[in-house]
Symmetry: C2
Subunit: 440 residues, 2 copies
C-alpha cells in the first residue's frame, strides 16, 4: 500500500458551534433562552443561562504558525472556517486526505457539561435535543458519508438520557459522549446502578460510548508554576483511570455489546495497562474474591469492550500484538493544537514506517475499526475509489493549507518565567480546563 | 546464562521496624519520647507523639497463602520474621536467591512522613537521625554487602535535610527516599527553589533519590465501592506524574548528576511516556518557549537522570530498546502483597523468556544497574561466585518457604458486595493509604 491508497477516518475531531445553529432546532418556546454568540470588543462570546464561555473555539488553532499555538482564538475570524463551517470542514478534510470524522462539541464542553447544569431541566432537555438535531441532521447530514455522528448526553436523569440516545439512534447516530469520570461533574460513579438505563440502551442499540480526555479525571500536577508541557503531556494518560474502572467493573460484564472508546488517550500505555491489570487480578483475586467470569482476565475484557484512539503513536503500533489490532483507531484532533493537520496522512505513514504492517492492519487502524465500532458505512454514499487519501486530496487541491499568522506570538520575555507555565495556559483557556487542579 | 547463574539485587523491599531499634540510637534525652511498640488485645501498635499507627507491618503478607493476602498482620508474630529481623531477612533472601536489597521504612511511612510532622523539631530531627543510624549501621551493617542503605529525609528544613543526607553519605548511604509529590504531604513542589539544597547535595555526593509509589501522588479513583483491584492496579502508574514533572523541570537540567529512581512504578509505560513527552515538546515548544538545552528531548533527560524499577514486567522488557537498558532495574517488593517471593528468580526468568536477552542485558537488569545507580559494590565483601541465585539458595536451603495460613481468610459472603471493595481494603490498611481519596 502507498500513502495515497489509505482511507482515513478520524475518530476524534472538534466542531466550534456556528452562531446560527439554534434557529432551526430549538422549539419556538425556548428561542429567547437559546445560547447566543455575542461579539464584545472583538471577541465572540457564547452567553447562556447567565453564564459566559470566554472562548468561542478553545484551542482551535489548526492552520496557525506553531509560534502562535498558545494564543487562543477569541473570535470566529481568527480560526480556519473549517472549525465552524461544515463545507469548509469537508474541504479541509479533503485537503488532508481524511474521509470521515467524529466531531466533539466545543462551547458546551465535550459532554455538554455546561448545559447539563442548567437549572430549568425542561430548557436543558430542549437545548441538548436541539444540539443533537443540529449535529446529526445539519453538521453530519449535509455531506453524507463524511461524518460519524456523536450525540451529547442527558446526565441528570439517566432514563431521559437513555431515551435521548435511542431517539438519536433512530436518526442514525451510534455514538454518545460521556465523561470519563462522571463524579468530577457531580454525577454518580459508573459503578452506581443509576447508569443502568444508559448501559442498557447502548447495549441494545449498538452505541459506542466515547470517553474524551479532559471530560472528568483530573490531571495529576504538582505546581501551576511548572512548564505548560507538564499539563499537555499528562492529559492522555488520564484515561488509564477509566480503563481500570471499566475492566474490573460489574456492569461491563452484564452487557456483551457495551463498547467504550478512549478518545485521545493514545495506545502506547495499553500493553502495560493490560499486563498490570492481569497481574493484579491473578495475584489478588484469591483473597478479594472478585470473579471476572468465563475464565477471563482484565485484558480480555478490554479487548471485548474498549477501543483505544491515538493521534501519533509509534510505540502503540509497535506493540499492536499486545493490544489487539482490532482495538485501535486513528484520530486527527482537528482543529486542536495536538492535531497533525494538514500533514495527517504523512504523520501516520511515518509512524508505521519500518513496523512491518500488513495492508489489512493498516486498513483496520485507519478506517475499518472506525466503521465497525461506530456502525459507519461511508461506502453506502461514496464509491470506495473516491475515498482514498489520493482521491480526496485531488478534490481538495484548491484548499489553501499554508500556515497563517495572526501576529500574536509571544516572546520568552512575555512570560514571567521565560516560558509558558501551566498557570499561563489555564488563564488563556479560561473555563475550558475545568479538570486542572493542584491537589494537596 | 541459566537461572542459577543470575545475580539478583532488589531495589525495592520493605522493613517492618523491630521494637528495640531506638534503644541504641536515640540520645538519652529523647528516650522517653521514642516511638514505642505496645501490644494491645493481641495487636502490636506503634505509639509516638500522641499518634498511633494501627498496623505494625502494613501489607507484610509474604509467605501467607494467597487467600489471606488482604488480611493485614497486626502483630509481629503474624509475619515472617524476615519482615523485622535482619538475620531472618538474609535467610529469606538466600532462600529466594536474592543477593542485595533496598529496604523502605514501614511504621513512619516510606519517606518518614509521620515523623516529619512532629511539632517539636528537635525531637523530629533526633528521631530521623536515630532511624537512619539504625537503618545504616544495624539493619544494613550487620551483613556487609547484602543491603543498599536508604535514608529517610528531613523535609521541614531542606538545609537540615541536605546536612542529614551528607551525614549519611559519610556513613556509606547513597540513597534517600523522597515523596513523589511533596505537596501531598504539605511541602512545596519540586519546582520550588526551597529544594535546591537537597538537589545540590545529592548531585555532589552521588545520591540517588528514590520516589516510591504511594508517597505523594494520589490514585485517580471514581468510587470507594469499586473492586479493590482498581486501586491495586492503579498505584504504579501514579509515578507517570512525577516522571513528567521531572523531565520538563528547570532544576533537573542544572545538576548533571541528579538521579531519581521511580520505585515500584514499573517500566511498561515508559516508552509511551517518552514518546508522548517528546511529541509534546516538539509540537509545542515554539510557542511555550521552553528550551531543554543542548538539543535534548524529554526522553534524553529521562535517560540521563531516571531509573525505572519493576517487579514483573514483560512488556517493559520487550520494549527495553525504547527505554534504554541502563534505565531499568528489578525489584522484589518483599514482604508486600505484590511480591514475587519466594519465586522471585523464576518469575523474573519467565518474564525474559523468548525475549532474546543477552547475558549483558540480564546482568544490567538484575544487578549491574543497581550497583551503578546506588554506588553499591557487594563484591568488596563477598566473592562473586557466592552471590549467584544458585549459590545463595544452597546457603538458604534450610529456610522453610512453605506458605502458611493464619486461618483468617474471608469468604465472598464476608464482603457486602461479594468481593473486596476499595473501601474494604482502605479500612484494613488504616492510615497507611493516605494517598487514596475520591475527587469531585
Amino acid at each position: 500500500m502507498e500513502l495515497n491508497d489509505m482511507i482515513m477516518v478520524s475518530v476524534d475531531d472538534h466542531v466550534c458551534e456556528p452562531p446560527d445553529m439554534w434557529e432551526k432546532h430549538l422549539p419556538a418556546k425556548w428561542k429567547d433562552q437559546a445560547p447566543r454568540l455575542v461579539n464584545t470588543n472583538g471577541a465572540d462570546i457564547w452567553s447562556y443561562d447567565g453564564k459566559v464561555m470566554p472562548n468561542v473555539g478553545v484551542n482551535a488553532v489548526a492552520g496557525r504558525v506553531p509560534e502562535e499555538y498558545g494564543m487562543e482564538p477569541t473570535a470566529l475570524d481568527q480560526m480556519r472556517p473549517g472549525a465552524y463551517n461544515v463545507d469548509a470542514r469537508v474541504d479541509d478534510m479533503n485537503a488532508s486526505g481524511v474521509l470521515g470524522s467524529i466531531c466533539f462539541a466545543s462551547a458546551p464542553g465535550f459532554v455538554g457539561q455546561l448545559w447539563n447544569i442548567t437549572k430549568d431541566k425542561d430548557l436543558a432537555l430542549a437545548v441538548v435535543r436541539a444540539y443533537n438535531d443540529w449535529h446529526i441532521d445539519e453538521w453530519c447530514g449535509k455531506h453524507p458519508g463524511r461524518f460519524i455522528p456523536l450525540s451529547l448526553p442527558v446526565m441528570w436523569d439517566t432514563q431521559l438520557g437513555a431515551d435521548e440516545i435511542r431517539r438519536c439512534a433512530k436518526k442514525g447516530c451510534y455514538a454518545v459522549s460521556l465523561p470519563d469520570n462522571p463524579i468530577a461533574l457531580g454525577y454518580k460513579s459508573f459503578h452506581d446502578s443509576s447508569w443502568e438505563p444508559i448501559w442498557q440502551v447502548c447495549n441494545e442499540e449498538n452505541i459506542t460510548i466515547c470517553l474524551h480526555i479532559g471530560s472528568g479525571t483530573q490531571v495529576n500536577l504538582q505546581d501551576m508554576n511548572g512548564p505548560a508541557e507538564i499539563l499537555i503531556s499528562s492529559l492522555p494518560i488520564t484515561l488509564h483511570n477509566v480503563a481500570t474502572e471499566l475492566v474490573f467493573s460489574e456492569f461491563i460484564r452484564k452487557y456483551d455489546n457495551l463498547k467504550f472508546a478512549l478518545t485521545e488517550g493514545g495506545t502506547g500505555w495499553v500493553p502495560y495497562f493490560m499486563e498490570r491489570a492481569d497481574y493484579t487480578y491473578e495475584h489478588h483475586h484469591r483473597w478479594t474474591k472478585l470473579d471476572l467470569g468465563k475464565g477471563r482476565l482484565p485484558s480480555d475484557i478490554f479487548r471485548e469492550h474498549i477501543l483505544a484512539c491515538f493521534i501519533d503513536d509509534k510505540v502503540g503500533i509497535h506493540n499492536r500484538d499486545f493490544i489487539g489490532i482490532d482495538n485501535m483507531a486513528w484520530e486527527a484532533d482537528y482543529p486542536h493544537s495536538d492535531t497533525t493537520w494538514p500533514h495527517t496522512a504523512e504523520k501516520f505513514w511515518k509512524s508505521i514506517e519500518g513496523q512491518g504492517m500488513t495492508d489489512e492492519e493498516i486498513d483496520k487502524l485507519t478506517y475499518q475499526n472506525a466503521m465497525k465500532w461506530f456502525n459507519y458505512d461511508p461506502f453506502k454514499h461514496l464509491p470506495r475509489e473516491q475515498c482514498t487519501v489520493g482521491a480526496l486530496r485531488e478534490k481538495g487541491k484548491h484548499v489553501d493549507t499554508a500556515l497563517v499568522s495572526h501576529g500574536r506570538g509571544l516572546a520568552p520575555s512575555d512570560y514571567a518565567k521565560g516560558y509558558a507555565t501551566i498557570e499561563d495556559i489555564v488563564k488563556q483557556m479560561g473555563q475550558a480546563l475545568t479538570t486542572v487542579a493542584i491537589r494537596k
